[in-house]
């Protein structure tokens, strides 16, 4: 305890609330409140309605939700596979090669995602890879963007892994493939699910690269939120945003259940 006097402690807590509530709690509450409203011209929103949600769970918006979910699911599974493979392969390399590989796979974090979008647009609008105008270009972009995060968290977990288990299994005659499948991957499962959750959340909210690439029949939710707010439909946009947040949180919650189950093994 840093502050001992009771008065000072209350003062510190008051300061914390003054900083925390308007900056962090208020924005989420405001979006939630706006999603149930039709007007906001005074302190509180007015014209309570659920029509925004009816619009946000139908037709175009419903299609955008499935688009986002499918994109995020495919992208995070691909990213997890490639990222884990890369991290496991890098762990077996010597120090110099490992450093090069780590640097390569961390690069997409540092490159602005708009630039990743532009690069993929330039590269896949021309032969030999003609993907422009298909849904795959969006999925490829999301996969590239989140692979770096998957690789980072899995390779951090690999360095923390106690190699005694794998050595014991190998000394008992298990083949490398068997050791990988029955010992190392199960031990890595908690961090694999955590990485999957991270990738999923990032992909669900991805806007910058998507804005440059999405074809008309593959519009993810963030683009729809932007389109709604851009034409002034702020309240519908908020409802779509709340749907986006709720879907992300639901999936993250589901993934965290896998994680807790895995850690009891």
């Amino acid at each position: 305890m840093l502050v001992h006097s009771r008065k000072a402690r209350w003062a510190v807590w008051a300061l914390f609330l003054v900083l925390f509530l308007p900056l962090f709690a208020l924005p989420l509450l405001v979006v939630l409140g706006a999603s149930f409203a039709t007007h906001w011209s005074s302190v509180l929103p007015s014209g309570a309605t659920i029509a925004n949600y009816r619009a946000a769970t139908r037709g175009e918006a419903l299609q955008a939700l499935t688009t986002s979910l499918v994109t995020a699911l495919v992208a995070s599974l691909l990213a997890l596979a490639v990222g884990t493979w890369a991290a496991l392969a890098a762990a077996a390399l010597n120090k110099r090669h490992r450093k090069i590989m780590d640097a390569l796979f961390v690069l997409p974090v540092a490159v602005p995602s708009v630039v990743v979008g532009l690069a993929i647009l330039v590269a896949f609008s021309q032969p030999p890879f003609l993907l422009n105008g298909t849904r795959w270009i969006v999925i490829v972009a999301h996969t590239v963007l989140v692979t770096a995060f998957a690789h980072q968290s899995v390779s951090a977990a690999i360095t923390r892994l106690d190699p005694a288990y794998a050595q014991a299994a190998a000394s008992l005659g298990a083949s490398p493939a068997y050791v990988l499948w029955r010992v190392r991957l199960p031990l890595l499962l908690p961090s694999l699910t955590a990485a999957a959750g991270l990738c999923f959340a990032l992909s669900m909210g991805e806007l910058s690269a998507t804005m440059m690439l999405y074809p008309p029949d593959w519009t993810p939710l963030p683009v729809l939120v932007y389109a709604a707010t851009d034409r002034g439909a702020l309240f519908t946009g908020s409802a779509v945003a709340v749907v986006l947040m709720a879907a992300t949180l639901l999936v993250l919650f589901g993934v965290s259940r896998i994680r807790t189950r895995a850690s009891y093994r």
Partner: protein, 301 residues
């Protein structure tokens, strides 16, 4: 300095029980390990490095044909680019400074002056990180927008026709949104660092008569510096690359490098120009991110 910092690390790396066991086996089959590393690297090359190389190539190919530095000369000479470069840099630096101060204060209270629900707040900050950044700008539209909460409060109270809060479409609105969104990226590593701080030091200092500000300055701040450096440089890179917040602000007056890339490519169809801006943005961001990796490795984060 570098050697002193790195040597012990290398030694512990080798003396770890695994290192010894693993290295002989890979030393026998270095070629096989390389072959296994090949598939992901090939995928990365096809889907990331090759496109990036094409961007660099296109930045040297003006629409008139041939290969020249003309796109660079055009872009560097344009007022819009210099304006965007300056806006990007000062916004990122200011947002990083704001995030560091705010994040330090918040983490300090959560860790050392805990209140009922402090854990829930820490959890909330984790959740905050999983939301897209443009939500913050969307929310700010309702709070400080022309007909939002704050202006509504003002017009209701004074009867004026307009509220005083009109900063949302200026760089200040972007700055506020960036500080809000990126502060959790500083709070998280700080909380991790604080959880490893030996509280006996604080008790000893305080029993010797040191007051809270002095304890913060002399004990907590030095301990927090690595985490602050790591979190701060990550936030700086993320701010330089931020797109959603600036786009949602809808301000014609605020253009940053990422929105300039988008505008040139999508709205003007000036691909060579967009590629030039992209190359500049990548150089700044990757340079800073490299610095971040070095700093955070030194800090052991």
């Amino acid at each position: 300095m570098t050697d002193v910092m790195h040597k012990p690390r290398a030694v512990t790396g080798r003396s770890r029980p695994g290192g010894g066991g693993r290295e002989p086996s890979t030393a026998q089959r270095p070629f096989r390990a390389l072959v296994w590393a090949l598939p992901p690297v090939v995928l990365l090359a096809v889907f990331f490095l090759y496109p990036l190389a094409l961007v660099v190539q296109q930045s040297f190919q003006p629409d008139t044909g041939g290969t020249s530095l003309e796109p660079y000369a055009d872009v560097f000479a344009s007022y819009a680019f210099r304006e965007a470069l300056w806006t990007t840099v000062w916004l990122a630096v200011a947002a990083t400074a704001g995030c560091l101060v705010l994040g330090f204060v918040l983490a300090l209270v959560i860790a050392f002056v805990p209140f009922p629900g402090a854990k829930a707040v820490a959890r909330f900050i984790d959740v905050f990180l999983s939301f897209p950044s443009f939500l913050i700008t969307l929310a700010l539209l309702f709070i400080y927008g022309t007909v939002g909460m704050a202006n509504g409060l003002w017009t209701d109270a004074t009867g004026a026709a307009e509220g005083p809060f009109q900063f949302l479409t200026t760089p200040w609105g972007v700055l506020l949104a960036e500080i809000t969104y990126f502060t959790p990226f500083v709070v998280r590593p700080l909380l991790a660092a604080f959880s490893q701080l030996d509280t006996a030091q604080l008790e000893a200092a305080s029993s010797l008569g040191a007051r809270a500000p002095r304890i913060v300055r002399r004990i907590i701040l030095p301990e927090a510096l690595p985490a602050l450096a790591a979190g701060g440089s990550l936030v700086l890179v993320l701010c330089l690359n931020e797109f959603g917040i600036v786009l949602f602000t809808g301000a014609k007056g605020v253009t940053t490098l990422p929105t300039l890339v988008y505008g040139k490519a999508m709205l003007e169809s000036d691909y060579p120009g967009a590629c030039v801006v992209a190359v500049v943005n990548v150089l700044i961001s990757v340079g800073l991110y490299g610095l971040y990796r070095v700093v955070s490795r030194r800090a052991g984060a």
